[in-house]
């Protein structure tokens, strides 16, 4: 296995009486781009700040390159961070902002000049050395903030929703650049976001959090296709969550239909199946080799590359099915919802989270 840059062991954190981080464990391999993903209040920023040292965990250990750091003050860790509001020093020029951390370390003047220039070039900020933050656009300030962190050559780079203050177009470009730079430098990176498309497109590894609990750690494909909890399935993209019963065999029962799954199920036990809208199809006649359920189309939306159908099946459950490359013909009335059994993912969670 690849070397680990960061390990968290049984981290717990309380703010007053509320338990905001609950028994979090994770291993982050060197050079990986890791995203902490979750809705607001899930604890992702709190975790990031613990790595930076702004909070101390109440229980547990944090290891950075095999050294315990959870008790170290922020200035004794090499974990440069890009803040959501950038936090550029308004009284310093771009050059001085980027050079700040190196100056603190007492790096030689020539060396500072060289490294700052490199970092600014990398972020395409040449010629802006003498500007002040308030003379720059949001996108430029953001680049300065990244340059200021990169120049420290951190053991792990921390990014706290760095794109949330940029407009949609710019966000896309900066996202691609960030990923390219990270891969070029082989920099271990932790990125905090609530935007699932950002997480899917950027990450090697995604950590999905909810209410201080890690729901799943996995690569984007695992998170998308093989969600471990209904929360993950529901939070990432759109899905159909179907309540089914175990049969005691390698199948689950939904009404009269039986769907084959990857493991043996307990008879009578409740399970959840997740079927993505693009994994199912509609047809007028039932299809061979697939599970097909009879239903009626209640609504539809034409979205250009696809048509999204809303279907009520005979058990009253509403399905969402996407048909791509639809042409001009749009279905209506009675149809069959068909899906291949291997496209239906059995969510194997011990307790289905019922607090909402």
């Amino acid at each position: 296995m690849s070397e680990l840059v960061l390990q968290m062991k049984a981290i717990n954190k309380y703010f007053g009486s509320s338990h905001v981080i609950k028994d979090v464990n994770m291993d982050i391999p060197k050079g990986a781009f890791v995203t902490f993903l979750g809705p607001s209040g899930c604890g992702k920023t709190t975790l990031l700040r613990m790595v930076a040292g702004f909070y101390e965990p109440d229980e547990g250990e944090i290891l950075l390159n095999d050294k315990r750091i959870e008790k170290l003050p922020p200035y004794e860790r090499n974990t440069a961070m890009v803040f959501q509001e950038y936090a550029l020093f308004p009284h310093m020029s771009v050059f001085d902002n980027v050079a700040y951390g190196l100056n603190v370390k007492g790096v030689a003047k020539d060396e500072i000049k060289k490294r700052v220039t490199e970092a600014l070039e990398l972020m395409q900020l040449q010629g802006m050395e003498n500007r002040f933050p308030n003379q720059m656009s949001g996108g430029q300030q953001q680049r300065v903030a990244v340059a200021r962190a990169l120049v420290m050559n951190p053991e792990v780079l921390l990014l706290d929703e760095p794109l949330s203050n940029l407009d949609a177009k710019l966000r896309e470009t900066v996202r691609v650049e960030l990923r390219q730079i990270q891969q070029k430098m082989g920099l271990s990176t932790i990125y905090v976001t609530h935007d699932q498309s950002e997480a899917l497109s950027l990450s090697d590894l995604i950590v999905v959090l909810r209410k201080g609990v890690v729901h799943q750690i996995g690569n984007p494909q695992q998170i998308y296709f093989e969600p471990k909890t209904t929360f993950v399935a529901d939070f990432i993209g759109t899905t159909n969550l179907i309540l089914v019963k175990g049969t005691g065999k390698n199948t689950v029962a939904y009404g009269d239909a039986e769907v084959e799954v990857y493991k043996q199920t307990d008879k009578g036990q409740g399970y959840v199946l997740s079927i993505r809208p693009e994994s199912a199809a509609l047809s007028v006649e039932p299809q061979e080799g697939k599970t097909c359920l009879k239903g009626e189309i209640t609504n539809k939306m034409f979205l250009g590359e696809k048509v999204r159908y809303f279907i009520n099946d005979s058990l009253g459950k509403e399905w969402i099915v996407d048909m791509f490359d639809p042409g001009k013909e749009i279905l209506s009335g009675q149809v069959y919802v068909c899906f291949a059994d291997k496209k239906a993912w059995l969510i194997d969670e011990e307790v289905i989270d019922k607090e909402e």
Binding site: E85, A87, P90, H91
Partner: protein
């Protein structure tokens, strides 16, 4: 931003004028405001400049005693301001940047002196360290004379420490903790972090605080009178010229000299420091993050410092209370109401002060919001001038305002000398900038779209103002009401020339009683004053049903 506005104004002058002519109520209110400003600001200040003759000017710059007074003033206020600012800064830093215990207690104690006239610290100094002072004479049997420059330095430092602390605390609070977190994240710590980030970001605000405290020490009248002894400063010298030698022109000349540095300071602050302020470009603070930037040793040093300052303040207040309610402080400790009855109950001064201050607070608050509404929400020619005139009195020493008013309204059709009106006028001039500034800050926070939404839903300008703007401004209005009431109760320099036998005020009485050695009665009056202020706060709270905490000012 500012340049853009001005440019816009020049090109749009005609359109603005046209718009104005289309709205007669607006036009009338603007004319009224300018007429009031002309009569009560420009006229008196022009008058005070015209009264002295060439000979007076010549005498003021050549005669040795005046030059000495000028130098003394500069020296003593520079010294006192510096120490007050340093103390205020350390205190504010301890409150905002460390996790020392008893913070809340320290905050409250530090603001207690603002409830009493600044001359109370001079009074306490006499009682403790004077020629017959409790500590120097009573306990240590020393025959020392601490009056003069040294005593003045100590007394003014204590008297103006709360102002320095409040102002600097505001400055430190406006620095986004994110920036300090970012610096820590990049490896900065302790002194380096403080020097490169915190101090640099606070510098413009600190300079403003320095100037503000500086104006107050320059204009301070009561303390130099009580403990200055032979150390003459301009404010007392002007008073002696007017009241002692009955030489009004000379008094006017001297007070003009007092204004020169403060006006300079005003312009520096207004046109240089405000432009170079960084506070607006920082992001919103992170909730739940405490910025603790110092180690344990530094923390306990800060704690010790806060204890030291607070015990000094508590000592002052308690010695004043003890003096007021014991027969003979230091010898006969039995309780007595004698002085309190003499100084507060049997005298009309407290009542007079209360009436004048309450009227002043009402006028400044209402006038402040009306002014702010004009300058912030309306476009008209002369807007910048109106803003300037409304803020101008903040830079004028009270003695100067008082003198200008008696010179201007001594006779003629508007003869106000000796009436309650001239007292209220003086207090109002002094406090107007506070009410105005509060209202401006409040109005700027209310997004214009809220008012537009109200009009869009069918409310006219008046209804919008009443139902949307005023309720949203309520907090900042009650702050400015309470503040100008308190300041008016305590002011001494503004009213020293304006009082008459018929209309004497409590703050003046405290000063003259202590000057004549009636320390116990003076202390009783000071206690009565603190009580009056507290009771009035309570009443205001009941009436407005707000949650304003004066210690959060």
């Amino acid at each position: 931003m500012k340049e853009k506005n001005i440019g816009h104004e020049q090109t749009g002058f005609k359109t603005e004028l046209k718009l104005l002519l289309r709205e007669p109520p607006l036009l009338i209110s603007i004319i009224v405001v300018f007429a009031l400003f002309g009569l009560f600001i420009i006229y008196p200040f022009a008058k005070i400049l015209l009264v002295p003759t060439a000979a007076d000017w010549a005498k003021a710059v050549t005669e040795k005693e005046f030059i000495e007074a000028f130098c003394n003033t500069m020296f003593s206020s520079l010294l006192a301001t510096t120490t007050a600012i340093v103390f205020g800064f350390i205190f504010a830093y301890a409150i905002n940047y460390t996790d020392i215990p008893f913070k809340r207690f320290f905050q409250v104690v530090a603001l207690l002196p603002t409830m009493a006239p600044s001359v109370v610290s001079g009074l306490a100094f006499i009682m403790l360290f004077g020629r017959r002072g409790f500590i120097t004479w009573g306990l240590l049997h020393l025959k020392v004379d601490l009056y003069g420059a040294f005593g003045l330095w100590v007394v003014q430092t204590i008297a103006f420490f709360p102002l320095a602390y409040i102002t600097i605390s505001g400055v430190l609070k406006s620095i986004s903790p994110n920036l300090e977190l970012a610096a820590q994240n990049l490896g900065a710590r302790g002194w380096y972090l403080f020097r490169t980030v915190t101090l640099r970001l606070a510098t413009p605000g600190l300079a403003s605080a320095f100037l503000l405290v500086g104006i107050n020490t320059l204009a301070d009248f009561g303390n130099p009178m009580l403990v200055g002894a032979n150390y003459h400063v301009l404010a007392t010298e002007a008073y002696t010229q007017v009241v002692g030698a009955w030489d009004l022109p000379m008094g006017a000349t001297l007070s003009v000299f007092l204004v020169i540095p403060t006006i300079l300071v005003f312009f520096v602050q207004r046109y240089y420091l405000e432009k170079n302020s960084y506070v607006t470009v920082t992001g919103k603070p992170v909730a739940g993050l405490m910025r603790v930037t110092c180690g344990p040793v530094a923390k306990w040093c800060f704690f010790a410092f806060c204890c030291f300052i607070c015990s000094a303040i508590i000592l002052i207040i308690s010695v004043v209370c003890l003096f007021a309610f014991t027969k003979t402080f230091g010898y006969d400790w039995s309780f007595t109401m004698e002085y309190f009855i003499e100084g507060v109950m049997q005298s009309t001064v407290m009542q007079n002060s209360w009436i004048a201050s309450l009227s002043t607070a009402t006028i400044t608050t209402l006038f402040g919001i009306a002014l702010a509404f004009l300058t912030i929400r309306k476009q008209f020619p002369g807007r910048v001038l109106m803003d300037f005139l409304a803020m101008l009195p903040v830079s004028l020493p009270g003695t100067f305002i008082g003198l200008a008013l008696i010179l201007a309204f001594n006779d003629g059709p508007l003869s106000l000398t000796g009436t309650l009106w001239i007292i209220i006028l003086g207090m109002t001039l002094r406090q107007m900038p506070v009410g105005y500034r509060q209202a401006v800050a409040g109005l700027k926070q209310i997004d214009k779209s809220l008012e537009q939404a109200s009009t869009n839903l069918g409310a006219n300008s008046f209804v919008t103002f009443k139902r949307i703007v005023v309720p949203m401004l309520k907090n900042s209005l009650s702050v400015s009401f309470v503040y100008s009431f308190m300041k008016s109760m305590n002011t001494l320099s503004t009213v020293i020339f304006l009082i008459s036998p018929e209309w004497n005020l409590a703050s003046v009485n405290i000063m003259s009683l202590s000057d004549h050695g009636f320390l116990a009665t003076a202390s009783a009056t000071a206690c009565g004053m603190m009580m009056t202020i507290f009771v009035t706060f309570g009443l205001v709270k009941l009436v407005l049903r707000d949650k304003i905490n004066i210690f959060d000012l």
